[in-house]
């Protein structure tokens, strides 16, 4: 099957001029993309970066001529291979989609039809667009799976989406996008939902495919290190406008705009680790085993969180990090072992703990959207914690509410009467932190608190936590899979793998060689802001293999 199209030098494949996209809001149509110009040649990868809400995804979809529901292309042109997609009738566009333009979404799990086998979904596109017969497409799928380095390429297509891992599913989806050998692929944060170790493999295969087939690609991400590996050119977006555009190396070495520099500086947040004190630790876990029914998730966990310091727990998903938090809070009573809070024995089940014990251990969740009751106003959310733990009511409560809001850097008058839905992701996370603070705790468990936020907002949250720790002597148990976050907050690091602690100690010791084998792999998987990083990692792997 040779569907590869010949190279046409010169004219760009995609030419966007003065693109303006509006979304329907409360007060009529509001511009969310304002006047973007963009050129993309065949075989070129353009990285689109910016904070959430910058219009990245909207622009990415508009490059395919697709208008999200509630959005419209108000002005400008999107010329794809000489045709203006902004004015092309829907039926013609639908023919282009899938055959010449493909899209890879952030969540492969949500994009696959769970009731159909991978192979059947692969074949659908080529057959619909009459690029290949079902038989040909099936053979092609196997080859493509092989190129994507999926295990058992001959038979993996016969599985259902839930029978393969997240990383494999994302690769299967990229393979599917390539099924008709499109000229342009739009990748919308394809690795954001993946673990670092999985992310590396997906990134490598995506880049390889794009290079092999000379496909033009738009790569949308908020992770600078990722875009550095993938893109030839980077376009920085903010509030729907282009801030800066330059070839990757130049952009990384010498960003011209102030805003770009702030984006870059996010990763440089550093924390000076404190030496562990000899005082009684806030909490200590000894010989903790826990699990769900017969399934053991944690085995022999020994861990201490010293007063006023941050212990980071790292590991990939499934390593038992979050279960550790559940054991500590008592939601999942440990089957064995001992918990101590400031030297005193703590009941394993939260229902047996008294209000004082509950008050001192607070939790901040990964998803601020689900951690706040959407039907309660900020005032009620925080006020309840104050009334419940400290008995504060009326004027005293009001005064404390104002103090809390000042502490989390949100104007009380403006935000106290809002519903969570009227807040941004970062603001919601701040309210979650305020709710924890309202209890005046000794320890706050932070479960992936920044992973649902983009980097600029995440940096703000981390700085806030750092400041609160300094001012109030709080201890944090910081659960994360992001090692950059660990570097910027942790005093001590605990590395977990398959329910066991494989290494723990002061941050600089854990991060400096010699590493435990797993720690080394984890550290090597974190992308760096160096365009050659991925090549080096892959080369390193080949040497080992």
């Amino acid at each position: 099957m040779s569907i590869e199209r010949e190279e046409q030098g010169g004219a760009p494949l995609l030419r966007i001029r003065g693109l303006r996209i509006e979304a329907q809001g409360d007060e009529g149509w509001q511009a969310i993309v304002r006047g973007i110009d963009l050129d993309l040649r065949r075989g070129e990868v353009l990285g689109l970066i910016g904070e959430s809400g910058a219009g990245k995804s909207t622009l990415g979809l508009a490059a395919m001529g697709y208008e999200r529901p509630g959005c419209r292309i108000a002005a400008g042109s999107v010329e794809f291979d000489g045709q203006d997609l902004a004015r092309l009738p829907e039926a013609r566009k639908r023919h282009l989609w899938g055959s010449r333009i493909a899209y890879v979404a952030q969540s492969a799990a949500a994009s696959f039809n769970p009731a159909q086998r991978l192979l059947d979904q692969y074949v659908e596109g080529p057959r619909l667009h009459r690029v290949a017969s079902a038989g040909q497409a099936r053979q092609d799928a196997v080859q493509m799976y092989r190129r994507m380095r999926l295990p058992q390429p001959e038979s993996i297509g016969l599985r259902y989406p839930h029978q393969v891992s997240g990383g494999q599913l994302q690769r299967a989806m990229t393979a599917m996008a390539m099924a008709c050998r499109p000229d342009l692929i739009v990748f919308d944060e394809p690795t954001t939902a993946l673990d670092v170790t999985t992310q590396l493999e997906v990134l490598a295969t995506i880049r390889e495919l794009v290079r092999q087939f000379g496909t033009a690609a738009i790569y949308i991400t908020h992770d600078l290190a990722v875009v550095a590996q993938m893109a030839d050119r980077i376009l920085v977006l903010r509030h729907g406008q282009a801030v800066e555009e330059a070839p990757t190396r130049r952009m990384l070495a010498a960003p011209q705009q102030e805003y770009t520099r702030t984006l870059w500086s996010v990763r440089s947040l550093r924390h000076e680790p404190r030496a562990p004190s000899d005082e009684t630790p806030v909490v200590s876990l000894a010989g903790i085993d826990a699990g769900y029914g017969p399934l053991k998730v944690l085995q022999g966990i020994d861990l201490q969180v010293p007063r006023g310091s941050t212990v980071a727990v790292v590991g990939e998903s499934g390593s038992g990090k979050s279960t550790l938090a559940r054991v500590l809070t008592g939601l999942l009573p440990a089957s064995q072992g001992e918990l101590r809070f400031q030297g005193e024995r703590l009941p394993l089940d939260y229902r047996q703990r008294n209000r004082e014990m509950l008050r001192h251990i607070q939790m901040v969740y990964q998803m601020p959207d689900t951690a706040l009751n959407p039907r309660q106003r900020v005032r009620d959310i925080l006020g309840r914690a104050l009334a419940f733990y400290l008995g504060l009511r009326g004027k005293a409560q009001e005064r404390r509410l104002y103090e809390l809001m000042e502490q989390i850097e949100l104007a009380p008058q403006q935000y106290l009467d809002r519903l969570p839905g009227e807040l941004s992701g970062g603001q919601k996370q701040r309210i979650c932190i305020a709710r924890a603070l309202a209890a005046e705790p000794r320890l706050i468990i932070c479960d992936e608190v920044t992973s649902a936020l983009d980097q600029v907002v995440a940096k703000g949250i981390l700085q806030l936590l750092e400041r609160l720790q300094r001012e109030m002597g709080l201890a944090y148990l910081f659960i994360t899979h992001d090692l950059a976050t660990v570097r910027s907050v942790a005093d001590q690091v605990v590395v977990m793998h398959q329910g066991r602690i494989v290494e723990q100690g002061p941050r600089d010791e854990v991060f400096a060689p010699p590493h435990h084998e797993y720690t080394a792999r984890l550290l090597a998987s974190v992308p760096e802001m160096d365009p050659d990083w991925l090549d080096r990692q892959l080369a390193g792997r080949q040497c080992q293999g």
């Binding site: 209000r355 689900t370 009751n373 039907r375 419940f388 733990y389 709710r435």
Partner: protein, 299 residues
Amino acid sequence: MIDPSLTLESPQALPARRRSGLCRRLWRGLRKAPWSARFGLLVILLFGLAALFAPWLAPYGESQIVGSEFEPWGASFLLGTDNLGRDMLTRLLYGGRNTLGIVLLATCLAFLLGGVAGLLAAVRGGWTDQLLSRLVDVLMAIPQLIFALLLLTFFGTSIPMLIAIIAVLDSTRVFRLTRAVASGVVALDFVEAARLRGEGTAWIMFREVLPNILPPLVAEFGLRFCFTFLFISALSFLGLGIQPPTADWGSMVRDNATLITYGDITPLLPAAAIALLTIGVNFVVDWFLHLTSGLRDEH
């Protein structure tokens, strides 16, 4: 630091602003309401007023025999008379009053019972959930109408008993729905946060979970209200519902059914009243659902 005098003035001012905000939002919603919702509201309002002021509006007494049987529509009997010579309009007004009152009470009771039990099952889980759910399964295994007939013949057909039996039978459906929607909410982090705070079951049920499942419950209320209406009418039609001489729409249809053979539409009037109210209630519920989901979209 903040100036305390400045901060302490606002609490008094704020709740008032919030309430007026809600009123304004309701008013704005009402003005933007589609014709169907306005029609529904109008119907409910008229029915409500008619039921409330039936003794003053009705030209005759509820079970007073004022003329001969099946008199045609005319000046003294606007809608004619029924099979016993009672004024049809009077019966219609009183029938609305009785039926509406019983239905409203029975439905509210069913929601109280089923809603609380459903929330309890979802929030507590474990044994509580098993026990309540299996009990409801048993109750639901018997066809509702037959079960009701059985219980009514067993306990007698007084109005309080009628209300209680309908409420209990209907509450099983409410339980199932409440439990199902609430289980989805219970799994969310903010409920976990409330549990970890040490909140009691009641707080979690009514403060954390209930506000989040209100829209489907209100929709169900509209539906249940209509079903109960039809159910009571069916019971009355079978002779086990509201007992004569108390007027009610269901038995009115049955009593005057013979007239249909003569091409007179009078016996269909109570049926039409039932249909109209059912449609009206559902229009309003649809609008409410749209409004709450619309409000959510705003965010």
